[in-house]
Each structure stands twice: as structure tokens, then as C-alpha cells.
């Protein structure tokens, strides 16, 4: 079968001019532009995108740079953008990704590029190292033994252990696309894996670090990482577990926790979200600078006739909600 593969090329010694209106990334995006080059390859119906790229490199253009190794979705080398989303090229069938007669592959614009399809994974590994992805245990090793844990304790971590460090989640992470210092989904999923490991005794210290700026509260909760992970690690779910553990451990003096508290209070007391009090309570009532920043938005809403009523209405039947909070509210009671 004939397949049409469009490859985003990038040569650092001869970078293409800035893309115009029709190219991605758009000019205001801080990623190098690429030249899109079309190749036609002859491959069977079941072939994957990586087969096509190897075919191109071996028989059509040996200058094409692509990073790959196992071809079995376990080494994590060949994550790249396939039709605008991070995918393992070796796990993406050409027939599933051919749209309007072509499949487009390129390096993800959120990452630095080395050449063509090989992005620079340095940010990924730096973030990983920052969360200290190893067991730390100050207790002496039991004599003549190693640290032992029940099977069940490790079974709970199978999902997080499945990470192959391909970086697909980071490549499509919206928070990382804007804020390069954000620890990102893969590192935080790994962070959870070590925090929850019973052999590690640094849980408190870890949770303190992970709740600081650029940590768990900098995730925008968009589920891109859950969607793109080829191994079902669901990094966002692990980030949310870390948030819960951190709050339970008392690390609550941050805007993320205040936001959650203000939200819960509003639902408990009125059954509805109070948009007027959410913002001031989240930024902290004594954070004058942030309070002032929010003021123009409120004035704008007022001018457009959209400002929520100052006297926040309660839902009828609020007693049911109060009862539920009494039973299950935990710290929101």
C-alpha cells in the first residue's frame, strides 16, 4: 500500500524562516519552525508510523533524524507529534492516523529540537531528577535482609511503575507549554510512586517540596497527559493523589488549597459556586496585589451586565447538601 507521510524537518545549521500564518507553531510560539516535506512509502496495511520513518531513512533520505530502538512500545524512544498529538511512532498504525490522505509527524513544539524528529529530552530528565526518583530510607536495613513489603503495597503502584519515560505526557502538557519550570506529569507521577512506596520514609519532606511553586498545584487539570500516555499511567490521577496527601499532611498554605477550600465552603453553604468570593478567598484575603488584579475583571463583568448577584442565592433543598457534607465532608464539614 502507498502511504503519504509529511515530516516536519528541522536542521539547526540551516533553520527555516519563521512560519507564516498557516504553519505551526505560530510565530508567537517560542519553538523553532520546521519545513514540512512529503514522502511516499510503500508498506503493508498493518504498518506503523515508525516503519514508514525507517523506510524513508533507509531508502529515500538518509539525512532524516529519528530516534528509536525497540519498535515494541517499551523503550520510550520514539515519542513525537503524530497529527499534532504526542504518540509513540511505533504504536501508531498508519491506517489509524492517515487523515485526508496523509499523516503528519514532527517534533513537539513545546520541547527543544536537536534535529528533525529528535527533540531534546533534557528538560524531561531534569524534572525527573528534581523529584528524587529513588527510595530514601534513613532507617537501618533489617539485619541479614532487605526492606520487605507486602505484595499488596506494591500492587497499588503498578500503574505508576508502568511509566516508560517516553515523555509523551510532558510534550502535550499545557502547563509545561507555558511554564517551562513546571515539574510536569511524568516527574510528578514518579514522585507519587516514591511517596507512596512503603520502603521510602521521606513522605513528609517530599510532599512539602512537591506542593511548592511549579509542583502539584501548577497542573491545569486538562487530562492531556492521561489521554496521551501510551502505558495508562494516568499522570493527572497521580498528581491529584499527591495533592490530597499533601493537604492531609498539613501543607495547606498555598493558593491551590485555599481555592479548593473556598470552593467547598461555597457548595456547603449555598449548594452552588459563589464566583464572587472564590477569587478573593483563593488568592488570600490579605494578598492586596492579587485582589487589585482581580478588580478590573469584576468591573468589566459589571459593565457587561454579567456580574453575579451580590446576594448569593442558595439552592432550594440545601438541607440535603448539608447532610451529605455532615457525613462525608471531612475537613470541609
Amino acid at each position: 500500500m502507498k502511504w503519504n507521510v509529511v515530516v516536519g524537518r528541522y536542521d539547526p545549521t540551516n533553520p527555516p524562516a519563521r512560519n507564516g500564518a498557516n504553519g505551526y507553531p505560530p510565530p508567537y510560539e517560542n519553538a523553532p519552525p520546521r519545513n514540512y516535506q512529503s514522502f511516499e512509502v510503500e508498506l503493508p496495511e498493518h504498518a506503523v508510523v515508525l516503519d514508514a520513518l525507517i523506510e524513508i531513512r533507509e531508502y529515500q533520505d538518509e539525512s532524516l533524524v529519528v530516534r528509536c530502538a525497540c519498535r515494541s512500545a517499551i523503550c520510550g524512544s520514539c515519542a513525537m507529534w503524530v497529527n499534532g498529538h504526542a504518540r509513540l511512532a511505533c504504536k501508531s498504525k498508519l491506517r489509524d492516523f492517515t487523515v485526508d490522505g496523509k499523516v503528519t509527524v514532527e517534533s513537539p513544539p513545546s520541547m527543544p529540537v536537536i534535529r528533525d524528529l529528535a527533540c531534546d529530552m533534557t528538560p524531561f530528565w531534569e524534572k525527573n531528577r528534581k523529584v528524587r526518583p529513588w527510595l530514601e530510607n534513613r532507617l537501618p536495613i533489617p539485619e541479614g535482609e532487605e526492606y520487605r513489603v507486602p505484595n499488596a503495597a506494591m500492587e497499588n503502584l503498578i500503574q505508576e511503575v508502568s511509566c516508560i519515560s517516553c515523555g509523551a505526557c510532558l510534550m502535550d502538557c499545557e502547563s509545561f507549554a507555558i511554564n517551562k519550570d513546571f515539574l510536569g506529569p511524568a516527574a510528578l507521577a514518579k514522585a507519587y510512586r516514591y511517596t507512596a512506596d512503603p520502603r521510602d520514609d521521606q513522605e513528609k519532606q517530599r510532599l512539602k517540596e512537591y506542593s511548592e511553586a511549579n509542583g502539584v498545584w501548577d497542573c491545569t487539570h486538562c487530562y492531556e497527559c492521561v489521554q496521551q500516555c501510551p502505558k495508562g499511567v494516568a499522570p493527572l490521577d497521580q498528581i491529584l493523589k499527591l495533592r490530597r496527601l499533601a493537604v492531609d499532611a498539613g501543607f495547606t498554605n498555598n493558593p491551590g488549597t485555599r481555592h479548593a477550600d473556598a470552593f467547598a465552603e461555597s457548595v456547603r453553604d449555598s449548594g452552588r459556586l459563589n464566583e464572587l468570593t472564590l477569587m478573593p478567598k483563593s488568592v488570600g484575603l490579605f494578598n492586596i496585589r492579587a485582589q487589585l488584579q482581580a478588580l478590573p475583571t469584576a468591573l468589566r463583568l459589571l459593565r457587561a451586565g454579567k456580574l453575579p448577584p451580590v446576594f448569593h442565592e442558595k439552592i432550594p433543598g440545601l438541607k440535603r447538601v448539608k447532610n451529605i457534607f455532615n457525613k462525608l465532608g471531612g475537613r470541609f464539614k
Partner: protein
């Protein structure tokens, strides 16, 4: 067709134009809206991340109210849709979770049997009503307008809860509606990305840059306006657009329409009836393009 209608907090708060235009469109469609006035806020993912059992009970209550009506539950907010879909998925597949939720509902007068189907207005339009019954209702073709769909997150992801695996076409419904009303859909990368709203109260600049980036991309592809099925996206893209312009250091000036406002225009309602004159980013320049005056 009768639906149990959950309007969400924002359509009754900072986006009243969504509530009003939904009613207009429902009237034209012959869609009977039984509003669940006693249903609580879904928690927008904030409560479920902090306290999953609490979230299950609150949303189980809403789902049980719809179940008693004997109708599908209709949302007009992607965020409500996402939370209710996830809850429904959990309660219908995990009997222990359902039992815990029902224990919390014991004295509420409701017991949930996990049978409710939760559907966003967008899905009802395309799946229950269908293009063939929509077409004759279109009185005004919006020919000449280039419209960028903005799905946001929670109506698309996680796909296992939102039925995208069975119905991948759900990620194309906005484009289909845009074409149906005679306008041209704008293809751009940011259409399924995050608007930044979840972080706007505690990570303001990053949040505003997210929204700003997508709007500028759509604009660079020629979009006259964006249409969204989510009022939270609307808040970040419309109400905060002047702030986004400040952090992006360039003008944006792209009006953001709610889905029922766009459809309502095509159905022949006036811009005022759809409260298009109550936006932060002025809609007049776009309306003038199709010779509509506010």
C-alpha cells in the same frame, strides 16, 4: 423530547446569557427542559480531587434526580459534563462506590440506581435531534463567517468516560454545526486544549497565557469568533480577554460565543434575545459582517 436540565452554577451566575440562549434554542427545538432546581454544584473537579466520596454523593444526588424524572440529564457546561460523566462511569461500574454514595443519600429522599445518561447539549443536538431535524430550523445562514471551535478539555477527555471511544465523531460536532449554519470552521491546534480557567485564581499569568495563545492561533488562521460549549472557557476567554491581551502583550479582540448563542442566531433570534450585547469582548463587529445589528 424531555430532558432533566442541569444548568450549572455559571449559567446562573456570571454567564446568564448562556442560560437565556439555551432556553431560546430549546424552545425552537421543542426540547422540554425540566430544570433540576434542587441539584447541587458538581464541584467542577475540585471537590472530586479533594474528596472523591463527597463528590460521588453530591453528583449521585443530581443523577438520582434525573433518574426520577425518567429523562436523560442535559448539561450546558463541559466541566459539569466531565464531572457527571466520570461519576456516572464510576457509580455504574463499581457497586461499592454506588453503595457508599447511596448511604450518604439515605435521608435525602433519593436512591440512585445508576441508570442516568448524561449528555451535553452539543451531543443532544447531533445525536438525539440530528442534522436532518436541525436543518429546517435554520432561518439565517451565517455565510462568510470563519468560526473557530473551542472544545476545551472536559467534553473530550478522559475519553473513556465521555464516550469518545464509541463515538469518536464527538470531537467534530462543533465543526459540523459551524458548517451546517453556513459558516466556515477554522482548523487550529488549540481547539482541544485547555483555556486555563482551572488555574486562573491561583496561577493567573500561566492561565491567561494559555487562553491567549489559543485565541491568537485561531485569529492567525483567520477566525472571526470562537464558539465554546463551556461557560468556564467563556469566562477565561471573554471576561479575561483584556487581561490575556496584557500578558500576551498584543491585542486579541476575538468575540467568544456560547454554543446556543451561535445556533440561536442561525435559528433567527436577534442578538439581544441571545444577550450577545452582554459580552466583555464586543460582538458587534462580527454581527455586522452578517448584517446583523445590535
Amino acid at each position: 423530547m424531555k430532558v432533566a436540565f442541569w444548568p450549572g452554577c455559571v449559567s446562573k451566575g456570571a454567564c446568564p446569557e448562556l442560560y437565556v440562549s439555551t432556553h431560546k434554542v430549546a424552545e425552537a427545538l421543542g426540547l422540554e427542559l425540566v430544570e433540576l432546581r434542587e441539584a447541587p454544584c458538581t464541584g467542577a473537579g475540585v471537590l472530586s480531587e479533594q474528596n472523591p466520596d463527597l463528590s460521588d454523593a453530591l453528583n449521585g444526588l443530581t443523577l438520582a434526580m434525573a433518574e426520577r424524572e425518567g429523562a436523560d440529564l442535559m448539561t450546558i457546561c463541559s466541566t459539569c459534563q466531565g464531572v457527571l460523566s466520570a461519576t456516572q462511569h464510576g457509580l455504574s461500574t463499581d457497586p461499592a462506590r454506588l453503595e457508599r454514595a447511596n448511604r450518604a443519600l439515605l435521608d435525602s429522599g433519593y436512591e440512585y440506581r445508576a441508570t442516568t445518561r448524561v449528555k451535553h447539549l452539543l451531543w443532544i443536538l447531533m445525536e438525539d435531534i440530528g442534522v436532518d431535524r436541525l436543518r429546517p430550523l435554520i432561518k439565517r445562514q451565517l455565510t462568510g463567517l470563519k468560526i473557530a471551535p473551542f472544545y476545551g478539555c472536559y467534553i473530550l477527555r478522559p475519553e473513556e468516560y465521555l464516550g469518545l471511544k464509541e463515538r469518536p465523531e464527538r470531537s467534530t460536532y462543533l465543526e459540523q454545526i459551524i458548517s451546517l449554519i453556513g459558516a466556515t470552521p477554522v482548523e487550529y491546534h488549540g481547539k482541544s486544549k485547555c483555556c486555563g480557567f482551572p488555574m486562573v485564581t491561583f496561577n493567573r499569568d500561566v492561565s491567561l497565557k494559555m487562553g491567549g495563545k489559543h485565541m491568537l492561533e485561531a485569529k492567525s488562521k483567520g477566525a472571526d469568533l470562537l464558539v465554546t460549549p463551556c461557560p468556564l472557557c467563556h469566562l477565561n476567554l471573554d471576561a479575561q480577554q483584556p487581561d490575556a491581551e496584557a500578558v500576551m502583550n498584543q491585542p486579541i479582540g476575538v468575540p467568544i460565543f456560547h454554543l446556543p448563542q451561535l445556533l440561536g442566531l442561525a435559528f433567527g433570534f436577534s442578538p439581544e434575545e441571545l444577550r450577545l450585547n452582554h459580552h466583555v469582548v464586543k460582538t458587534e463587529p462580527v454581527l455586522e459582517k452578517v448584517e446583523l445589528k445590535v
